[in-house]
Every structure is written in C-alpha cells, then in structure tokens.
Symmetry: D2
Subunit: 442 residues, 4 copies
C-alpha cells in the first residue's frame, strides 16, 4: 500500500543538507524516500550544485533507490510531494550578521529567534513561507510542511493564523539537546531519559524528567543547578544558573532562557564575542566556507564529521524522526511546534506552542499539561504576545505594528530605542522586506 | 434603616488622613460616618496625636456628628466596624528609601510597586495585612477592607488567595489620574471623560475613552502621543511616548508603564534624581515633615492646601467614593482591585485585577472585557506571575520563592543580580521580615 | 448636541406597537424621538394602517414633536435611522400555531423559543433578520438593532456569528417579569428589587436577589418555593416547584425553566389546553382580533388597557429603557442578550448570553459572573449547543444540521421522532423556508 | 530493578476475577505479578472462596510464580500493594435490580451509570471508595487505584475532588467495544482500528477513526449509519440510528448514547424486557449463578468460555493493559477516566473525563482535543453537571443535593417525579446509605 516517498527541501543548498540525506539513508527501510528534490533560488546555484552532487554521491554510496533532483522552481518540484521541508535563510548569513550587529550597536542583544534579530528574521522569512504554503495548497495539498527555518515558533504561528494549511509542523533541535544534556549530567545514555516539554520555541521548559520511566526531576534539577556541572552541560547550563533559582523554578529551562534570566551576562558575552571572534553569524560564515570546500571534494561520499560542529546537532534526527512517525503513524511522543488546542492553559487554542505531542499520520496531537508553573507562565505569555504581533507585522508590512513588536520584546529597553533599532534594521534589510516599502502598504 | 457608619483606619497617623477626613465631611449627608477610629502602632504615637487632633478640629469645624477616636489596639477599635481602611507603611519612609536605593546601587530600578522595591514592600506588608484580616474575621466579619497600602495589587492577590475574607477592595489613584490627564489634554472637565480600565494595579490600561459618552479613543491617543502635550500631561505622558508606539498600542498606558516601556530612560532619571534631589522616598520625607509641622498648628481646622502636593491626589476621592457606593448600593462604575471572575481572559478567575467594576452593596462586580489586546496581554501576565510568586514568598517566608519572584521581575536583568539584590535587601529589612528569619520556616 | 432620534420598527403593524409608542411619549423629554417609521410587508397593510393611524393619534394627543411614518420598504425607511427595532413574525400566528400543534401531535412540547417550535421559528426568522442586518450595514451602519423577535437568543447568536454588525441587542421581558414576581411575593415595590441575571434567553437565572441593596436571595427563594405563593406569582412559579428543589438549586429559575424541570406536567397542561382552549397561538389570535378592532376606533387616542393582557407586559418598558440608556449613555444595569466576552465561564466569549449588563452608548457590557452554579451549567450549555446548531441550520438550510438541532433539543425524546417532527414541520412551513427548498443548497 | 508486583483486588469474589487472573497469566513475562490479593467482605465469603480457589488452580496450571491470597481485611491486604483494583458492588445485584425497577415503575429509565439508577449506585459506592482511598493513603500511598466499579466517571470525579490521592484511573470497556464494533462493520481486524476518544464515562465519543493510520471517519460513520449493519454491530448501533443524524453528528456515539438520543425507544425496550425476561440485573443474576456453579468445579483450571457472555468483554483486557503500561512506562495510548487538565475545552481542568491518554509510569496524560463538536458539547456538560452534583450528594449525604442531582438528570422528566423516585429509592437502599440516615448529617 505504501508508495515511495517524495520529499522536497526548500533551501536545499544549505550546509545542513548532507545531514538530512544521511538521515534518510539510515532510515531507508522504514521510510523509503524515493525522490529527494533540493530546491533553491538561482542566486544559490553554486552551493546547491555542490551540496546536490554530494547528496547524489551519498545515495549512490549507500546503494539505495533514492534519486536526488536539483531544481530552481517550486512549480517543477512540488507536485506529488509528501513532505516539504524548509531550511532556507532569506538574505543568507549576511542578513543574520546584521540581525546581531545592529541591536548590539545600541547595547541590545540581537538574538535570532525571540529578540530584535528574531523579529527581523521573521519579517524576512514569513512572507516567503506563506508563498510556499500557497504553492503547496495548489500543487501538493496533502503534503506536510516540516519547517526548520527560524524563528520556528513565529513562523508556525504565522502559518496557522494566516493560511488554511493545517499540515505544518515546526521543528527545533533544542529539546533533544536538553534531553542529551540531562543524560550527560546524569552519566546515562540519552535514550533512557524522557522529558515532558511545554512552552514556546526557544522558550521551552522540561516540566518533568524521567529516567527509565521514573520521575527524577528533583535529581536532574540539582545536577543542572550544580556549578560543578556547568562546563560539561553546554546544552543546558553554560554560563551557570544560580542553584537556588533553578530549585525554585521547579522546571528545566532551555539554553535560550539565559537571554531572559541572564540578560546582562549574555549581553556582555555577545559584546565581547562581537569584538573578538565576530558574532555567531560571522563565526558560522567561516565554518560554512570550510564545509563547502569539503563538500566540493568529489571523493567525499558520506557526511563529513566536521558538520557536527556546525551547531545544528540533532536537526536531522528530529526531522527524519518526525517524518518517519507521520508516515508510519507510529504514535510515539516528540516535541514539536503545533497548534495548542488547549494543551497549555492560557495560550489561545489556535496558537502555536512547542510541546510533547503524539505523532500520528494525521499530525501531532499535543499532550495536555494544564497550567504551566505560575513563575514561567508570564514570560511564556510575553513571548507569545511578541510572536503574534511580529507575525502580524510580517504579513501586513505595517510600520507601527513592527514598532509595537520591537517595543514589547523583553530584551528591548524602551520605545525610543526600539524605534531607532527598527529604523536602522528596516533600512539595512530593505531589499528583503518589500512589504514595508511598497508605495501602498496594507 | 441605615445606622451611622463606623470606620477604622489602620495607619491612622498617616499624613493622608486629613484628606480622608475632609472626604467624609463633604459626603456626610449621603455617607453618615459616626465614628472614625484612627489606629496606629505605639511607635507612631507622636504623629497619630497630631493628625488625630487635627481630624477632631476638622469635624468640629464642620459641625457634623462624627467622633474621632485614637487607638493603638485593633482589638479595641475593630468591633462593630463597617469599613476598615489600611494606609500604613511597615518600616516607614526609611524602608521605602532602601527599596529604592539598594536596587539602584546595582543599576536596577527599585519601583515601589511592581519592581524589586515593590517585592520587598510586599514581603513586609502582606503578613501584617493578613493579620489584620484575621482580626477582622474575628471582630467585625461583615466589615469591608478597603486597602490603599501598596503594592495594592499584590496585597489584594494575597488576601484573596490566603484568607477567606471576600470583602476586600484594593484602591489606587492612578486610574482617576489618567482620567484627569485625558481631560486636561482635551481641555474639558474631568467628569465628562470616562475610561474603561482593565489590567493590574500600576499596570492598568484605558481600553476605551469616552467624552460625553462618545468613544473618542483615537483622538485621545493622538493627544497623548503628541509631543507638544507632554509637559501638560504629567499624569500620563511625562517623558514622552513615541507617537507611533502609542498609535500601535491602541490603548492608553498608565504612568507606571514607563518603567517597562521606557526602562532605560526611567533608570537614568532615577539615578540622576537619587544623586541630585534624593529618591522619591527622601523627597517625600521632607514634605511629610513640613506637613506635620502644619498639622500641629492648633489653629488649623481644615485640610491644608499643601497636602495636595503630597502626591496622593484623588486618594481620598477614590476611597470615599468607593465606601459611599458600597454603603448606598449605588451601582456606579469605579476602577478597583478585585477578583477577576473571568472578566479578563487568560487571568485566573480567582486572581486580583484592576478593572472598571459596578460597585454594589455586595462589593465590586467586574465588567467583562474579554481578551486584552495581544500586545499588552503578555506584560500583564508577566506582572501577574510576579505578583503571585511574590505573594507566596511573603506568606511562606521561603528564600527560594523570593529569589524566583525577584528573578522573573522584568526590571531585574539576571538571576545572579537578583540574588545579590535579594540578599542585600533581606539584610537591610531584616527586622520587618520575621518570616524569613525564624529558626524554623514554613 | 443631541439631535432628534429616528427609530425604524420592522413589523410595525404588530399589536405591540401602541405600547412602544406610549413608551416613547412618556420618555420624550430624555429621549426625543423625532421620527418613528413603522415598516411592514405589503401583506400586512391592513394592520399597519390601523396601528399606524392609532400611533399618529397618540402622538398628536400627547402634543409631542414625533412624526409617525408608515412604509413598506426598508430601502425607504432605514437611511438615517438611529435604532431599528424588530418585532415581526414570519408566517404570522398561523405559523406559531403549527410550531405548537405539530410537535404536540407527537407527544412533544412545541415551545416557541427553545423547543422544536423555537427551532422552526428560528429557521423562518433568522434569514430575514440577516437580510435586515445587511440593509442596516448598507443604509444606516451606525444604527443599533434592538431585536424583540423570538427566539431572541438564537437570533442574537446568529447575528453575532454570521454578520459583522456588532450593534445588536436582544431583548426579552422575562427578567423584568421575574423582578416583578419577586417584588409581589415579598409585598414590596418592584423598583426596590434588583436581580443579577445570567444565562440564556428564556433560560435565564437570578443569581442574586436584592431588596434595597441587601442580598435577600435565601428569603426570596423560600418565598418562591412556598406552595402558598404559587397562585400569586404567575411570572415565576405557576405550577409550583418542589420546595427542596428550589432550595437546592440556589438560584431563581425563570418561568420557561418549567419546560425543562417540569417537562411532564407542562406537556400534560399543553395537551389539555390544546384540546380545550386552543394552543397559546390560537388564544392570542383571538386577543389580537379584539385589539385591532379597538385600535381601529378613531376616537381612541391612547394605548388601550386591554393591551396589557396581551402577554407582552414590560416589553415596551424594556425596549424604551434600553434605547434611552444607549442614547444617553446612562451606564445603568439591564439584562440583555449580548456577546458573552468571558462573563459566563464555559460559554464561548463570542456567543450570545442573556445577562445583566452596563448599558453604554457603545452598547451593553456584561458584568462578569464567573462560573454558573454547577447544577445549572449543564442545562445552559445544552441549550447553547441547540441554539448554535439551530442558527447554523437556519443560515445554511442544511437538512442534516436541522435534524441534529432537533435531536439534541432536550424536549425531543429520540432521533427518530426528531426526524418525523422535522419532516412534518419542514413541509408545513415550506413557503417560509426557501433555504431548505432550493434546487442547490449551500 | 523491577521487583515482582503486588496487586490487591477489592471485590475479589466477583465473577469477573477469573478474567483478570487470565490476563495476568498471559502477560506474566512483561508484568510479573507475584502476589494477587483477593479481598471481599465477610458476607461474600462463599463466593470469594470459590473464585479464589479457581484463581489458585489457574495460576498453578499456568506454572507461574504468582500466589493468590484471600482476605477479608484491607488492613491486612493493602500494605506493599502496587496496584489496587476495585470491582465490588455495594448491595450486590439485588441493589442494581432496585436501581432499575423503581425508576421504571415511574416510567423512567433506571440506567446504572448516568441515570437515576447510576445516581444511587454512586451514592452507595462513593463513600466506600473514599474509605478505600484513605486506607491506600495510609497503607500503600504509592499504589495506583484502578477503578472498574460503576459509575466509573462519577467515582473518578469524587476521588479527584474529595481526596488527595492523585493515583487513580477509572476504566471502562465501552471504548474497546466501540473499536471492535467498527472493525466488525468494516470487516477488518480490531487492532488495525484506532479511535480518538473523548467525553465522559458511558458518554464517550469517537472523534476520529483510523484504519492503518488513515483517517476513515466518514466511511466508518456511514457504516454505522447503514441500517443493514445494525444487527451485526451490537456494540455500537443496536436499535439503529437515523442515518442522517449520525452523518450530522460527525462523531461516533457509544451504545449508552441511545439512552439520550433514543430515550423513548430505550424506555419501551426496558419496560418490555422487565416484564418478559426481567431487568438486566435479574438476567445477570441468573448468569452469575451458573458461573459460580462452574467455578466451583475443582477440575476447572482455566477461565471458562461462558464468562465471555457475562457482558464484561474486554474488561480484563483494559485493566491488564493499563497496569502493564503504567508498570512498564510504555507510553502507548489508551482511553481512561482521568483528570481533564484542559484536554477538553469547557470541562473544568480538575474534573474527570474519559479520553485517549498516553499511559506513563506517572499515570495517564490526556491528549488535548480542544472543543468537542458543538452539538455534543451540551449533553456532555449536562452529564458532567449531574456527575458533580451526584458526587457531592454522595459525600455529604445531603437530601436536597441528591434531589438536585436527580432532577437535573436528563432522563428524569420533572422535579416532582424526581422527588418521588428519590424518596422511594432512599428508602429501598436505606441500609447502604448511612450518610443520609444519620441523626446529624454533614
């Protein structure tokens, strides 16, 4: 009954693609991908050619029946697709560098997902995603959109609110990183640890933590709170939490929570890094160049190990695992960005949350958690307000709405500074924000 | 059927008392206060004597049948009370000065209601209020507690959550100040302006604004956003909002919103003020000394005009008006701190909100507003989380809970700084925080 | 500033019109109605002429400056209207008689609002109301629609869900009847009694009951429960409640609750009446004929006393009082059908409820009541489900949706009987249900 | 790490016990039950001896290491228990016969779960269950209470509201019966069908229906609606639904829904049965006698096939499967009665619902379904109101509360008849309702 699967990857020229390809190869028995279409924009031709050829060599090396197609046209690639994955970056890493540098020049953290940088990444990305969704509705309406593109929470919110395509899942590698971090702190294998996740993208909490099914939350929180463990738990505790704070919080924060609960230290760190080693975008630019040099080597026929240092650890794992569970209706539990449906009290039922969900052929079903602990409820609500206003600004291109999103962001210290940063960034990203620069705005 | 009213004012030695007395005198026909008991602690005897004698001279001058009693015992004063008002200050203005100075020394705004200073004011005040409520339940269970003591929102939350006494209303003069500010900006009489209020104490928004019953919100927001009006609208716009921000916000913020939407500028202003003129507490200390010198003058038989510069404009108005409406079941609309009951979506039904309510003999009935605008919903939730955690810390004396409250406060930039400020302030206020320094804590 | 008011009454040929006219005359000073347009369909010309001329004589007799216009065209009448009232009856009393007779023939109560009869009244009425709303949006978009037409709850729900016109209020005389009934039982004047109402139309409860502002709910419930009072309290207790049931209910039911809490007795009563005196519709037909004979008498220049026996006591009171409060922004409290906005927990915020609301120039603002008592919550939810499914059936003309509405109605004992009644009634009302008999349905 | 499991079965003398024993034997590898304690009251000694000896022979025959203990003392049996199952019947089948007969004598369906009969079963059972819970809290606080005793929804509600023991799951065999019925109608194996369940006990709906992971709800509903299938689908469609009704309902009803959507036909059927074959209780009494005769045969060493006709098909399956999933933290999905936690909108988060849940070592986690279809929401709410008021009556022994529960039950046609039935049944069950007959009630 099951036919071979067709997958279309928008932003196929990304340096992450080999990891995805490796994932499909490893799972080929359960998840028989027959066609993989890598789609990119003409400006990305050079990279797509390099990555595409590596992908073809990897499939050949593995001896599986999966053809890899390169395309510069969604019109050509989408028909018949079962899954569409998105991992593109409007404006490339140059744009991310601006998302980081411009706020920093005002003494404000950029933060590419929930901060001012994330706002602009959303403003550039959301209109493109919505165009893709419209193409999907026309060309392959039964396809699932599996979105990796950040800010994944804001993007999922926008698709759920501004399109009619229900088949979207937003993915992130942060939760699996937290799981691995806890395992490491406890000195056990990662697959013995399970965490009940709930919150928002890059604002997700571990509500309960299990080892072999036994709830060991207190023990795990003590391990996370222990300063002695900081160095070994890069994923969840770098910089070091105050032990009493973690104990009082009673849930496991994610690494991105440091932007909100350690704002001052993170700002100092980012300012120092920007001066010394460059912003994260600039560091990644260097890594990418090295990766593409490797990929171009025609003798390379498997994913190079250096890719794992790229920063997207577990991305492929999360994506292939999700696609497999939808395709095979496995009904296992994975953390994804999906419609809330009442699972988290106080968040609108129609809004996106990041939450442990049962994955079925009909999509994710969030597991109800009732109220979040009161101490974290407020911050989650604030970021949800930011995401919603930001998504509206991205869709409407309304200047005042964008200013509102910028001002209510918890990292931005005033309406006046918000306006200055907004004006600078609008100008800097002008070519990727047509909705703000039409003669007649919505 | 109506008997004369007995009112007990805890913290009767406050410099505000003459305003309250004047309010009762003006309304004597509709609101026949027969006994006014001014209660204070023995340490406040000097002030209470001065204020009490002035109150007695004022009643005599007005020729009304209201006796003024001075007392140092709630046991003596409370039986038979119809209303108990609270306006005391645990630790006097010296404590408030510490609430402001200590955070400032860490580069953090103190803010005596929703900031770190407010947290400590709550930690000192809430146990005393709860003791008073227990006395009320025992000695005059039908009495209404009308609480002016800040942080009024956190105090109301604590009474609603940690006692069984439903008859509490929290009062604030901010809403009436906003009404007057709008009237001023529009150049009309204050009583022609009506505002639908909703939010939290010192975090209240004007959702709609009416002139003679006509909704003129847009016009009023433009007036507030107009930089030309800043100087004349001290109550709502001092410091100046970005006009586009106010237009996008679509609701009227209160003056305290500047702490959250203009954090940077407010910090700079407070730091400058602390160096030049002293903190607000220190300025008020000077004003108070002058007022008590005036009050002590036995020829003074009415409220001195200088009191109006004290800062508590409209307090008496708000209090007397509320007591009158409860007593006479007038069913008019006033903004008060009361149980939410579903009026604001997303806030627990049992939590306190500050909201336009119909005032009946059975207490306030909040008018349902459904969802707050999404852009303000998040900040309101965050402060509500802070209030709830802070109230729990005040009641339990738990150090970690107090640290949690401090860390999640949006004015505090990190868990580490939160701990430093917390430790300093706990030490500084030690004598007024017995719940944190018992050998065996709850 | 206030100009004279223009009111358009759709269904102006109704026998109730003189009561409305009397109401406007009595309030002329506060509510200066300058133009009253009575609109009806051409088939109703004879009645409209009779009633219209009486209205003109009444205005002349009162010596007020109010012109009464007769019209058969909404196009002509609506422009410039401030208020549009609706009191028409699609299919006249003949249709109501079928609404009652057909279900009775199956041993089922017809009930013209929340029963099978009410379903058909809704199916006939809602499309017409929605047409009127579309005319209002085009011709007088600022006008308030004040709807008396039953089923008023279902109609309000339909307008709120299926049009964009927010300015609608549904009115009913049941709440004021309950207030008068309590006053009578207590032997006091009606205006000394106040009741907090919440629920749905013809399914409204008195949550609290006050005499001179004092909560006397227990005393009032005992009076209602006392069998000795049954005969004197036609409005709230005819047929007699079990005293222990009322005590346990802890809220005041409305007369229509007898259909649900005394189904068996009501069915027996209606069956007996149908045989002996005719159904309610048939009785009313006789009364109406007498009334029109009176109205036609050109010497009659005031409302005839006999009208008060017509059954719509307090209708004019409710309508004029509501219009007056909107026009003058009085902010008093009246029970109306309006959007819930969170006021009653568990009912969607966007659904209609019947609830005590503050009446402003911007419309009613419901007073939040939190959760209804658990024992009544379920029945209210069930009728709300019925109203929503019925409104959908009325708008879509979908047969299966209509069958669903009929089957879930608590008075209907099975899906099979529901289908039989539905089929009979669809056929009987065919000419007034074009949406169910188009060749291509929605 | 895993030790052998201790299970205590209260009401161990039930005829169902052999099925449970068989379940433990079949799963012994994954679920190593080491001790099975069958507990009953001294009056049940004869039956317990018979069943207990059969259980011992079955364990011996299977050659597994499971000892079967018989006890008449919870004090003796409970310490060390991992799971406590309850399957007792206060007042035996005689009491159930009264639950059915007395209402029928008033022309009202008895219905042993959600009807008047269910009310009395709850009034008898809930105080005993709460006593058991108190024993569990004292003697084996980590044990899970797995409750089969009807009315399972009301019992779960009562334990969740009136005790602090969170470890309770209510179980029912209706959902698995629906799954098997759909499989039968489609002519496929039962384990290829999956259903998303939500609602209340004996009021559960299938929201979505899957075959091999594909959503085939429409096809399944057509099969259920098809009159040709009625005879073969005893579990879900006996009596026959109106096809258009099922199509409009858009969810799969359970067999018990016939009491509400086919009230008239069910009443007729029960009245006929009562006259001809006896009520269900009376039929079951005969079956039980035969079963115990079989059980007493010392050569019988396995579960006799006749047990499957007893009516409790799949009970053992549901119970063993649940216990296994909790014990082994399998995280598979099962329909259970558990705390709602927001999974079904409009039902209180703390109330019990019957819902598809992920089963973990920490208990069931309900999968969020958001709003039920509007047409079924109302009936579910009404039964939830009934369950809550009934649970309160059971705990307090308050006569008026019991009358309220009886009157709001949708099967009961009036307050007067409710009182008559209530009075008769209170008298008939007097010995098992001590809480209603104490000289001083709570």
């Amino acid at each position: 009954m099951k036919k071979g699967i067709k997958i279309v990857t928008i932003g196929g020229g990304s340096s992450y693609t080999p990891e995805l390809v490796e994932g499909f190869i490893k799972r080929h028995h359960a998840l028989p991908v027959k066609e993989l279409w890598l789609v990119d924009i003409p400006e990305g031709k050079e990279k797509l050619e390099i990555v595409g050829k590596l992908a073809q060599r990897m499939a050949a090396e593995a001896g599986i029946d999966m053809t890899v197609h390169l395309s510069y046209s969604r019109e050509e690639a989408l028909p018949g697709a079962d899954f569409v994955t998105t991992q593109f970056r409007v404006g490339m890493l140059e744009a991310r560098a601006k998302d980081e540098r411009i706020p920093l020049s005002y003494g404000v953290i950029g933060q590419e997902t929930n901060g001012p940088g994330g706002l602009f990444k959303g403003l550039r990305t959301i209109p493109v995603i919505i165009d893709i969704v419209h193409d999907i509705e026309r060309l392959c309406p039964d396809a699932w959109l599996v979105n990796f593109t950040n800010p994944a929470g804001m993007v999922t919110e926008a698709v759920l609110r501004y399109t009619n395509h229900e088949r979207i899942v937003g993915l992130c590698n942060v939760p699996v990183g937290m799981q691995m971090g806890v395992a490491e702190a406890l000195g056990v294998d990662g697959d013995r640890v399970r965490i009940d996740f709930a919150g928002l993208n890059h604002m997700v909490y571990g509500l309960n933590i299990y080892l072999d099914g036994n709830n060991i939350k207190q023990q795990a929180l003590e391990a996370v709170a222990d300063p002695a463990n900081v160095s070994t738990m890069k994923n969840i505790a770098a910089l070091g939490w105050e032990p009493e704070f973690i104990r009082a919080l009673q849930v496991l924060p994610c690494p991105y929570h440091r932007y909100y609960y350690k704002t001052e230290e993170m700002l100092a760190e980012e300012q120092a890094a920007a001066e010394e080693t460059g912003t994260r975008a600039e560091v990644v630019q260097g890594v990418e160049e090295e990766l593409f040099a490797l990929y171009a080597d025609e003798t390379l026929r498997t994913k190079p190990e250096q890719l794992e240092q790229r920063g997207g650890a577990y991305y492929s794992e999360a994506a292939c695992s999700l696609i497999n569970s939808i395709y095979n209706d496995t009904r296992d539990i994975q953390p994804v960005n999906t419609r809330n449906r009442g699972a988290v009290a106080g968040i609108p039922a129609e809004s996106a949350v990041e939450i442990s969900s049962v994955i079925t052929k009909d999509g994710p079903r969030p597991i109800a958690v009732d109220e979040l602990p009161v101490a974290v409820h407020g911050l989650v609500q604030q970021i949800k307000s930011f995401e919603r206003v930001a998504a509206e600004a991205a869709v409407t291109g309304n200047y005042e709405t964008a200013l509102l999103a910028m001002t209510i962001n918890p990292l931005v210290p005033s309406d006046t500074k918000a306006k200055q940063i907004l004006d600078d960034m609008l100008e800097a990203h002008r070519e990727h924000l047509p909705q703000f620069f039409q003669s007649e705005k919505v």
